[in-house]
Amino acid sequence: MEIHIPTPLRAYTDKQETVSVEGATVAEGLAALTAAHPAMQQHLFTAEGKLRSFVNVYLNEDDVRYLPNKEDSPVSPTDELTIIPSIAGGAHSLCCSR
């Protein structure tokens, strides 16, 4: 499968935008990615090994968190995984509203 890497994490994949790995499930694909690029581990996972809350992983068009088998979802060699950190914010917590 191919894993698409977002801009800020390419520093840890030797600047590769896409990394090809082997694995039968999403979890195996991510494990292969971090095995090949160990620095990715801390950026994707917590110390407890859970996917960080702000890291979204999509299997083709589907958010892995909402798939029935989540990270144990099966993948085929032609599937694509996309890692995409969340983007959010807003002015609500600014102290100095005018």
Binding site: P6, A11, I87, A88, A91, C96, R98
Partner: protein, 144 residues
Amino acid sequence: MSLLLSKDLYQQLRTHGEETYPHECCGILLGKSSGDNLHVTVLIRAGNTRTDSAHNRYNIAPQELIKAQREGRKQGLDIVGFYHSHPDHPAQWSPTDFAEAHWFSCAYVITAVEQAAAQITNSFLLTGTSEEDKAFVPQFIAIE
């Protein structure tokens, strides 16, 4: 590191904030990192999924980010930043902006909008390499 963009793109992101007022607008900036600068060449408007609190919160759906990333790949571009507006608030990053910032080395552009008129636009570069050492650094916006 400066943020380089055309006058037209600069105007587009400010206009977006005026159009969505009193709600926050948001969008994605495609371009390239060149030397010490981020050069923006494409602006993609995004929907604000925070319809529950759109006047002071924003969120871009991951699907829109993935679509933008794919579009970037086609054009040989990367996601180099994001923009959003602060209706009736300063063009300064908020604690929420900081807590929710995870795109290192990318630009976070904020436009203050008062009474549907764009005011100051600032850009902040997210520096650092992890949640523990990240920081927002003011970034010069160079209009080409």
